[in-house]
């Protein structure tokens, strides 16, 4: 009897945790998308008003915002400082390196990759246009992410718990 109780509680705890983890992904994606927008806005200011050098600006913003987005900025700045690759190469390889750490989806990554291809390589006016375009696309993605979050966050949470209970009942 005690054995059964222990087993079923283990199943319920694990299944709840899985549910919470699934729910967290939705939360994390919206957070990362909004952090990315904040970071890009700051980058725009650095470029337009201060004409800061890209490696310097990326590093500064990356350190101050922290998190996955901050890491992406810092990592790109670091490989730019080695002076071996182009901005696009540095940005893409940093994104690839952090892909598992970030909770972004394929469409978010595609937007960011396209952004990296243009970063630093045109005059101020051009940079502003690309940043604005990227911001707009990210806002759209964030909207979708929020909708998905509302739909699925609660569902995965309760599904985890309820599924665990159901599994425990069926198995034991």
């Amino acid at each position: 009897m005690i054995g059964k109780l222990i087993n079923s509680s283990v199943i319920i705890v694990f299944s709840t945790l899985i549910g919470l983890e699934m729910a967290k992904r939705y939360v994390a994606r919206t957070k990362e998308l909004s952090a990315m927008q904040g970071a890009l806005s700051r980058l725009e200011t650095e470029i337009v008003h201060y004409a800061s050098r890209l490696p310097e600006a990326l590093n500064m913003i990356g350190q101050s915002i922290g998190g996955g987005t901050g890491k992406l900025f810092c990592l790109t700045a670091k490989s730019l400082n080695d002076k071996k690759c182009t901005v696009s190469e540095a940005w893409r390889s940093s994104l690839d390196n952090l892909k598992d750490e970030l909770h972004l989806q394929q469409e978010d990554l595609d937007i960011l990759r396209r952004f990296g291809d243009q970063l630093g390589s045109s005059d101020r006016e051009g940079q502003v246009k690309f940043i604005q375009l990227t911001l707009m696309q990210l806002r759209e993605e964030e909207k979708k992410a929020r909708a998905a979050r509302e739909k699925y966050e609660k569902m995965y949470r309760s599904l985890g718990l309820l599924g665990g209970i159901a599994l425990a009942i069926i198995l034991l």
Partner: protein, 332 residues
């Protein structure tokens, strides 16, 4: 008194900042060039789809993949579109938006004061240059300073504690900027019998001080302030108002507004040392702007540079009347 903070420049000290501006494989090729040529390297020429070339000892050489030097262009390394794209990013420190003005002017100054000239397609807007695109040719000019270039001219422009208003006339490539720079250094640091004074350099084309991110990359002296990339006339006024210099040094005067700025300098009791393009005093007197300036006898010394004894020869030094010659024979 100046020796303590000066670092001796070695023949290859240009390499680090210049090589940083090149993609890795081209870096290796340049490093592979025989040392004798590398030490006296004057230019690295990069042109898309054409052979990589370097200038040294007054002529050009083709560079092969392994860095060996040839005079046959067929075996030379051909620069690719990818190379030029990368070079532009590297010289602009990945921030082309921060170099709009420089790109319009056609050159970017690297750390170390080396200049990279660029050519491509010009985009016009309302009759003036808006930007340059398809940049595909680069000329990396390795700049070297000649410490002591001004030794010979100093006795003519300094008398006791006083400094004469001086105009240096010279055809291009005769070392006028090098001379101005060394004059700035000597006046600023001082030399036996002369205590250093405050010097202000208005460096419109970033050539005198070779500034990189505002910091002079050449030895211009410890009491020298530099206004980098600043239009001359405006810069001279700014210097007078804010930095209290005893001497203002600037190059290539020639626009009408420069005359007003020079007049302002005189009124403020500040000495001016400037340069202008001209082959000789007769040439200068034939130019509308320069002749007016010379006739007003603003300049107490007019020095003419040439190459009768090699580049940088001091050919003549005139008094303010433009006829009395103070120099017995050309010196270098």
């Amino acid at each position: 008194m100046s020796a303590s903070y000066e670092i001796k420049e070695s023949a290859l000290s240009w390499q680090e900042p210049v090589l940083e501006a090149l993609p890795e494989h081209i870096r290796k090729m340049i490093k592979g060039i025989p040392k004798a040529l590398r030490q006296d390297l004057e230019e690295i020429r990069i042109r898309e789809n054409r052979p990589l070339m370097v200038h040294s000892h007054g002529r050009d050489y083709f560079v092969c993949k392994d860095g060996s030097i040839g005079s046959n262009y067929e075996i030379a390394y051909r620069v690719t579109a990818e190379d030029t794209r990368k070079i532009l990013q590297l010289i602009a420190d990945y921030s082309i938006y921060a170099f709009e003005e420089e790109i319009r002017n056609g050159y970017i100054t690297l750390r170390g004061g080396h200049r990279v000239g660029m050519a491509g397609k010009i985009v016009m807007e309302n009759g003036s240059i808006r930007t340059m695109k398809y940049i595909n040719s680069f000329n990396i000019r390795i700049s070297r300073e000649v410490i002591g270039a001004a030794d010979k001219i100093m006795p003519y422009i300094v008398s006791g504690r006083d400094i004469c208003h001086t105009l240096i006339l010279s055809p291009p490539q005769m070392g006028k900027t090098t001379l101005l720079r060394d004059i700035a250094r000597k006046l600023s640091d001082g030399f036996p019998g002369f205590r250093g004074i405050k010097v202000g350099i208005v460096d419109e084309r970033s050539e005198i001080a070779g500034c990189w991110q505002g910091i002079p990359q050449r030895r211009v002296g410890m009491r020298t302030d530099v206004l980098d990339s600043c239009p001359k006339a405006t810069g001279i006024m700014m210097m007078i108002r804010s930095m209290s210099p005893k001497v203002i040094i600037t190059d290539e005067i020639g626009r009408p507004e420069d005359a007003a700025a020079i007049q302002e300098t005189l009124n403020a009791g500040i000495r001016i040392i400037a340069s202008a393009h001209a082959a000789d005093i007769q040439d200068a007197l034939a130019r509308p702007f320069l002749s007016k300036l010379l006739e007003s006898k603003v300049f107490e010394r007019i020095a003419v540079l040439g190459d009768s004894l090699g580049v940088g020869t001091l050919e003549k030094v005139y008094d303010s009347d433009c006829t009395t010659q103070l120099l017995g024979q050309p010196i270098r």
